[in-house]
Subunit: 273 residues, 2 copies
């Protein structure tokens, strides 16, 4: 039921990450099929001219004028791009300039303010990524006391991508630790985790989904069989219940949704996130 075709241009004098993030809002309009064109580092009149030509061409190709989300600090470039007909969402006009009035300040207008290495917390995010990669899948017990959260759950339930998202997006040091058959036989969480109970957060998953994910790696294995997946999941949930660990089902949640849920449940300094 796609009814129309449009192009979405993300035009920025920096990375275009912020403008691109706003582009996610187009998912509220599933009846339009958008072709996304990113034009980062558009910081000269020549590049603006080239962007303008692409805008005109897309209008011809699609039969509709495009949506343009733009973040350009230089006012001359802003005016120049708008000579081409399009539906413009101008982050400076719409947000930054009015916000400056509220705050009583002139905004910085240099390129790439929002995503430079000078931005708040960049170093913390890089540290968190390194920590998370070094504490993936229970690979070491060393330094777990530095973790801000430790995700636990059966193998292939989504711990790794969720940990990485927490680190990359929010600068959270997120370790993760698998729950494995030896733990289920013993009927206890791995002993190394006992002293970190306040940082544990569980992921679970539906057996059908787990079996399908595991089958991609090891088809026709006992490990991937629906029966084994059911038993592992039940055992893991029992362990977590017994230890008082909160958990959430990853089956139909994105890493963004899982991360937002985890951040709500763990206590962190407000400024961190």
């Amino acid at each position: 039921m796609i009814q129309q075709k449009r192009s979405l241009f993300i035009i920025s004098d920096g990375t275009g990450i912020t403008a691109g993030a706003l582009g996610k809002l187009l998912e509220h309009f599933p009846a339009t099929s958008f072709t996304k064109v990113r034009l980062p580092f558009t910081d000269t009149l020549e590049k603006i001219q080239s962007a303008r030509n692409s805008i005109l061409q897309s209008t011809l190709d699609d039969g509709n004028r495009p949506v343009v989300i733009m973040s350009l600090g230089n006012i001359d470039l802003r005016h120049a791009i708008k000579e081409a007909d399009a539906y413009y969402i101008d982050l400076f006009n719409a947000f930054i300039d009015p916000l400056g009035l509220e705050l009583g300040q002139q905004p910085l207008t240099g390129a790439g303010i929002a995503h430079s290495v000078m931005g708040n917390s960049y170093h913390e995010r890089m540290e968190a990524i390194n920590f998370t990669l070094g504490h993936d899948d229970g690979m070491t017990h060393t330094g777990l006391e530095e973790a801000q959260v430790i995700l636990i759950g059966v193998s292939r339930c989504g711990k790794t991508p969720t940990s990485l998202y927490l680190a990359m997006q929010f600068g959270i040091k997120a370790a993760n630790y698998p729950l494995i058959p030896e733990d289920f036989e013993r009927g206890m969480l791995p002993s190394v985790l006992h002293q970190h109970k306040d940082k544990l957060f569980g992921l679970t998953i539906k057996a059908e989904r787990l079996s399908s994910v595991r089958s991609e790696r090891r088809p026709d294995s006992f490990y991937a069989s629906l029966d084994n997946c059911r038993k592992e999941i039940a055992s893991a949930e029992n362990l977590m219940r017994g230890a008082g660990v909160t958990w959430v089902d990853s089956t139909s949640r994105s890493i963004e949704e899982l991360s937002a849920t985890i951040l709500q449940k763990i206590r962190l300094p407000r400024t961190l996130i």
Copy 2:
């Protein structure tokens, strides 16, 4: 030269990722110190009431009303939150509803539209993360033909976090491969990379910075010494120059900036990113 304190509330009925991304624009106002408060999954009147109380409290604490970036599909919740005095940036009012007029469509108003597992390309992003983790640091040659980009450079120049960012944010299958002393002695790129020359992209780094990064891992080592870093970097740049590989300096560029640069240089289907 912080002149004022404010709170920034990110209030969403979903993850708040899009609203939070827009919060990056506050970095255009360095004279205000913002305390960020994320309130995802705010989807009931009770939660709105609690958010309203936090807004009032922050005004007392900071001496200024907060900035609220909100994404709430339900119009009653939108009205209810605004009973508290704040500077509101309402993504539905400011963007989604006007865009609906342009597109001639009613927007979806359900919670969490933008970041559900149903969103465009979620599965591709998860595949890309798995691929990238499985092809980090030259760990395997298998499947390199599936890579969309292969980052190369000396050890610790930023290949891993950049690869992960490309995968997580854009769904790009990004392998990375270290250039090591054996390659420099031979004076050639690793032979496995020869058949993938069109996918190679180089990272380089300033010697002082590399030495400092390596020293965190292996203090006082030959590996981390400024002299060795200088030689490795010169050799790596020579190799890349000889092979016609484009490279960029990671020293003062964030992973967002590096990724945006890489995406500009490699050829990808437009809809992918």
